[in-house]
């Protein structure tokens, strides 16, 4: 792993966030509480995965049982499938508040056995998320620390007290993807209504925080917005990206068009309907053609042909249905998607009772 500049040590996760696989089975983990992304060699033990599907009922209850708690104490933050073994990785928060603990769990597709991925002594690299408070932003929220090893000791007269000073401004990673030798990171600021997509070359280099790409989208040829990207997926061999925004349009842009410091305008190719949030996206191949699946909060699972995206002129008139043709799959409650080899897409699905299950969707039948 020396080619990726990983060094052995302890990955101290403070929070569980989005995860995605990069080259050579390296897993990227976003830790929003620490404003850091880790690249970890997870040393997946599995043999190469086959072309079989993988389904697991009550994955939240199973992971909860393994971690010694109920399903309501489990929050599955993200899901990724190891590109070779097809083992399923879940970024999980166990418990709430002070007792909350981030855990990386691995589910073997061979037998459904759940395990936690040890992070005590693993090859890893880390990069600070560049949207940490700026040089002029000295605002700190000063509180009494919850633990003795936090904060700094201050002397007031004859009293000594530990004070914890933490930044007020933070950025929250909502999605990550590895494409074309770089990690792409979308985030939401807790202050500005920002539109930054960060690109950090991998392997990480000391002092390189990556570039910040400002992307606008135009709706109906009349309105231009710089809204934050909520979820995105590279396709076309990593040359293109389809992004969905907090305000739901699907926007296409080519990575080559994104140059540092310049304003880039993406092409709005579809709108996903009112009062709806895109949750996750994945690309897959069916009969030699590339397609995208978009999981939505209100409008089910949508399938879109990439050739339709490529030929879609920018939306210029408000109309319904809007933009590229899409096929709505009768699958509700899908929150996360990941490729499970070439034959299946793995979906994390919530049922009406809120329990969560892993389901394999056959790409030939989608």
């Amino acid at each position: 792993m020396s080619e990726f500049r990983l060094e052995s040590g302890r990955v101290s996760l403070r929070s569980a966030g989005p995860i995605t696989f990069g080259p050579a089975g390296i897993l990227f983990l976003a830790d929003n509480a620490a404003a850091t992304v880790f690249a970890v060699d997870v040393a997946d033990p599995g043999p190469a995965g086959g072309a079989e599907p993988f389904d697991l009922e009550d994955v939240d209850a199973r992971v909860g049982s393994f971690l010694g708690c109920g399903p309501d104490d489990i929050t599955i933050k993200d899901m990724a499938v190891h590109p070779l073994s097809h083992n399923v990785y879940l970024s999980v928060q166990r418990g709430h508040g002070e007792a909350a603990q981030p855990v990386l769990t691995r589910i073997s597709v061979a037998d459904g056995v759940i395990d936690d991925v040890p992070l005590d002594e693993v090859p890893f690299a880390a990069v600070a998320i560049g949207d940490a408070p700026g040089e002029d932003d000295e605002r700190l929220d000063t509180t009494l620390p919850l633990r003795d090893d936090e904060g700094e000791e201050m002397q007031f007269g004859t009293f000594k007290i530990r004070l914890l000073r933490q930044p007020i401004r933070t950025a929250t990673v909502t999605d990550m993807a590895y494409a074309d030798g770089a990690l792409l990171i979308a985030g939401l600021s807790n202050e500005e209504f920002s539109s930054k997509l960060r690109r950090i070359p991998f392997p990480f280099s000391a002092g390189i925080v990556g570039s910040s790409l400002e992307i606008y989208h135009v709706s109906h040829g009349k309105w231009e917005t710089a809204a934050p990207i909520r979820a995105f997926v590279p396709y076309d061999g990593g040359a293109s990206v389809l992004a969905s925004y907090t305000c739901t349009p699907l926007v296409h842009f080519r990575l080559a068009d994104l140059t540092d410091g310049a304003k880039a305008v993406g092409r709005t190719v579809a709108e996903l309907g009112p009062v709806n949030q895109p949750l996750d996206m994945v690309s897959f191949v069916q009969d030699g053609e590339e397609y995208l699946l978009v999981a939505n909060s209100a409008h089910g699972l949508l399938k879109i042909a990439c050739r339709d995206i490529d030929s879609q002129p920018p939306l210029t008139e408000p109309q319904q249905p809007v933009g590229v043709p899409r096929e709505t799959k009768d699958l509700q409650g899908i929150r996360r998607l990941a490729n499970l080899g070439g034959s299946y897409v793995l979906a994390l699905q919530s049922d009406d009772a809120g329990r969560q299950h892993l389901r394999s969707l056959k790409t030939a039948s989608l």
Partner: protein, 333 residues
């Protein structure tokens, strides 16, 4: 007969088991009803301690949780982890904006708490309500990732931007979440849990009147400055003419002295986020100073110094402005 008790061992909390033969198949499951064979046992290890066996969990026992011990596949004991009894003491210390009236295209709120909070409760406990108590549904952006500061004491709540941005189906079909002339309240329910898992001492709310649209750039050139006398520590006072974003105000305004050095002092955001002042720690010099305004400073509707929230491409005045700080010069008299 197996006896099982909470104990210490193996470097932490454990379940101590007495009266078991060596090599017994012992497993621990969270909960009281173990669906035999369907769920994996809790991760941990068994350690021999004299005549006892100790189950040491890999992940700490949770307060208030029940744990079932099985021996040879049969339920042998159920233990309940005690939950420390503490009175609810955490409360909401502030809701921003503090302005009495907000624009109909309001974009965000900030909620401050007196102690660190748990994540996962914002969607269920923060809501907008009309004066008759009915809930304004679909107004707030459902976020899987809640927006907190690092100390988990300030929560940022966004109104659904798709309903604010013109030209999108959400705006065209459903309209703004708010309505001009119809007051509403932001309500934080007492079911919001703090970091210790306790509810709030009391729920909190703030009521707002709703005005018209605000779609103009933030324009520092139009601000009014009350310039202090030189040789005093009286504050520089800046009045904006409309409320600005509380979170950004705290970091987007600075004063630089004649040598471009930052003027140190006490900054305060005025009532309703309509003004700002800086009282210097050393008396003003009678030379030219600069009020520096960062271009990301936004108003309540997400319009900033450099760009409007959504730009009407047909309106030249909506064009983006340089993303550089705006500098206003003044000289204490």
């Amino acid at each position: 007969m197996t006896e099982a008790i909470w104990s210490r061992g193996g470097g932490g909390d454990c379940i101590r088991l007495r009266g078991l033969p060596a090599g017994a198949d012992v497993r621990v499951f969270p909960g009281t009803a173990v669906a035999a064979g369907s769920l994996p046992p809790m991760a941990g290890r068994l350690e021999r301690d004299g005549a006892d066996l100790c189950f040491v969990p890999r992940f700490a026992f949770l307060d208030g949780m029940s744990y079932t011990v099985t021996v040879e596949g049969t339920s042998a004991a159920v233990l309940v982890r005690p939950r420390p009894e503490r009175p609810a003491a955490t409360e909401v210390t502030g809701i921003r904006p503090a302005a009495a009236e907000v624009p109909v295209n309001l974009l965000r709120f900030y909620v401050w708490f007196s102690a660190p909070m748990s994540e996962g409760y914002a969607a269920g406990q923060v809501r907008l309500a009309r004066d008759d108590g009915s809930i304004i549904a679909g107004a707030l952006l459902p976020t899987e990732h809640e927006l907190w500061d690092a100390a988990r004491r300030r929560l940022t709540v966004l109104l659904d931007p798709a309903r604010i941005k013109r030209g999108l189906p959400s705006h065209q079909e459903v309209g703004y979440p708010l309505r001009s002339g119809e007051p509403f309240r932001l309500v934080v329910g007492d079911g919001f849990r703090d970091a210790q898992g306790l509810p709030l001492r009391v729920s909190a709310e703030r009521r707002y009147e709703v005005g018209g649209e605000e779609r103009r750039h933030v324009d520092p050139v139009s601000w009014e400055l009350a310039v202090p006398p030189a040789g005093t520590c009286e504050p520089l006072q800046v009045t904006f003419g409309r409320p600005l974003d509380h979170g950004l105000l705290a970091r987007c305004l600075h004063v630089r002295g004649p040598g471009s050095e930052l003027v140190d002092g006490t900054a305060q955001i005025g009532p309703g986020e309509q003004s700002w002042q800086l009282a210097p720690s050393r008396a003003w010099a009678s030379t030219v100073h600069q009020l520096v305004v960062e271009p990301v400073l936004e108003d309540l509707a997400g319009n900033s110094v450099s760009r409007v929230f959504d730009r009407d491409l047909a309106r030249p005045e909506d064009q983006s402005r340089p993303a550089r700080p705006v500098i206003i010069v003044f000289r204490p008299g």
